[in-house]
Amino acid sequence: MQTRRFAIALASVALAAVLSVSPLAGSKADTEQASTFLDSVREQAITGLTDTTRSDEEREALFRSLLNETFDIRRIGRFVVGRYWRQAEAEDQEAFLQAFEDAIVQRFLPLFSQYQGEQLIIGEARPDSKNPKFTVVASTYVDAQSREVKADWRLLQRDGSYKVFDVVVEGVSMAITLRSEYASVIKNQGGLPGLVVLLREKLANGEFRPAVAAE
């Protein structure tokens, strides 16, 4: 259950797309403004992605653009590959980023067509105590059975705009978990291309699709 809710929570914030332009750090007024802003954007995005009258292609295109506006996919991708990134050829890096994004789309997009009134309540922003370069936004995800899960969104500021770098649910960081897993895969496969092959295999089999959607 935890993971499913985690997944949906992540997807919901993929909706809260315009983090990238809102000034979350700084004064309290800014923070409030950002939260209000987020709320309205999230509403718009939920309308867009859960709208079953749209074609699958349309919804996927919308999801991808929201995803890239909200999350720093390149940076996350680089991070999860870790020290193997700099040993890899540029084309393998690009191939990985593409497969990585595809896996995210396959994993999270289907959750929106099963949307049943789950809520994501955006809380306050604070500077990351460990590293001031990050801003942490607290949130509460409430599922359709009104169970609550708290998730922290770690944002990185770049050229005056914010993008999500990591999601931490119950003390578990998505970026760190993936990085640790990918490191093991890359080591066993003898390089980044091996990871890409494995990702593509799973993509082709639809194995990233959430269980409910796959059945």
Binding site: R74, K130, F134, E181, S184, K202
Partner: protein
């Protein structure tokens, strides 16, 4: 060029911590079309530095035997444990399963109490004490959790966490037969917890040692059943299930030692409670 920069950084500041940052920034500089000013700024203060340090080491010198035990556990799980859990879930109503869960959880409270006290956390020790008394009486041997409703939320402590609170490192990661992910610290903690538990002495004095096994089995069934969906989901899109579990276990334990997530778990537990 790269080596020179590395060397220069090291000599100039002597900050060992900057190493991963420097390497990463050089990578970034190559990979992205940024100005030199940007590169230099990144060299100064890379946001990934802490992340790098947190996880670079998988802490798993016994990975080969660990993976072997994991494979055996997986086999047992597929053949025996999971099917029994599925049967239990499908045959026994959720209401009954919840009673069993709360009863078993209440049995663990004395161990939590002992560890609250060993950690010097008297607030939490008080809460645990109140919970045990309230639930064992008003909650009818713990079948109902009346204490949560009365403002004494659930939390769990074990001796592995107590060791962690006093700064003990986790020690090498261990995959225990049947019990699953652990490490030297937490596995030792499990042994100590046996002796912190009045249940051990009661079953000894009354010559009912076999009840330890029954309780162990019941705990296992309860745990496996409650995690059917979660574990399926974690395994489903895993590229390396073993490595994923290892990372999840280590992060989760660290958060539990910090008591970061307990407040949250309480809320989740409260919300999930079915009466």
């Amino acid at each position: 060029m790269v080596d020179m920069l590395r060397l220069g950084q090291r000599q100039a500041s002597g900050r060992a911590r900057a190493w991963p940052a420097v390497l990463l920034c050089l990578t970034l500089a190559v990979a992205s079309p940024q100005g030199l000013a940007d590169e230099l700024e990144d060299l100064e203060d890379d946001p990934f530095a802490d992340y790098e340090e947190e996880i670079e080491d998988t802490n798993d010198p016994l990975e080969i035997p660990n993976r072997f035990i994991f494979a055996m556990n997986q086999t047992l799980d597929v053949a025996i444990f999971r099917p029994i859990a599925v049967l239990y879930r499908d045959l026994v109503p959720e209401y009954m399963r919840q009673r069993v869960h709360l009863f078993l959880r209440n049995l663990h409270e004395p161990v939590t109490l002992a560890n609250d006290m060993l950690q010097g956390d008297w607030d939490r020790a008080g809460t645990t004490w109140d919970r045990f008394l309230l639930n064992s009486t008003g909650g009818v041997f713990g079948f109902w959790d009346v204490a949560t409703d009365l403002g004494h939320p659930y939390h769990k402590e074990d001796f592995g966490q107590t060791l962690g609170v006093y700064g003990a490192g986790e020690g090498p990661y261990l995959m225990l037969p049947i019990l699953g992910p652990s490490n030297v610290r937490d596995a030792s903690g499990k042994v100590v917890d046996i002796f912190l538990d009045p249940f051990f002495y009661i079953t000894r004095e009354t010559d009912k040692e076999e009840w330890r096994l029954y309780r162990f089995a019941a705990d296992g069934l309860d745990f496996r059943t409650r995690n059917l969906e979660t574990l399926d989901e974690i395994e489903r899109d895993a590229l390396d299930f073993y490595a994923r579990l290892r990372s999840l276990y280590r992060q989760k334990r660290e958060a539990e030692i910090r008591n970061d997530v307990d407040a949250l778990s309480d809320e989740v537990a409260a919300a999930e409670r079915i009466d």
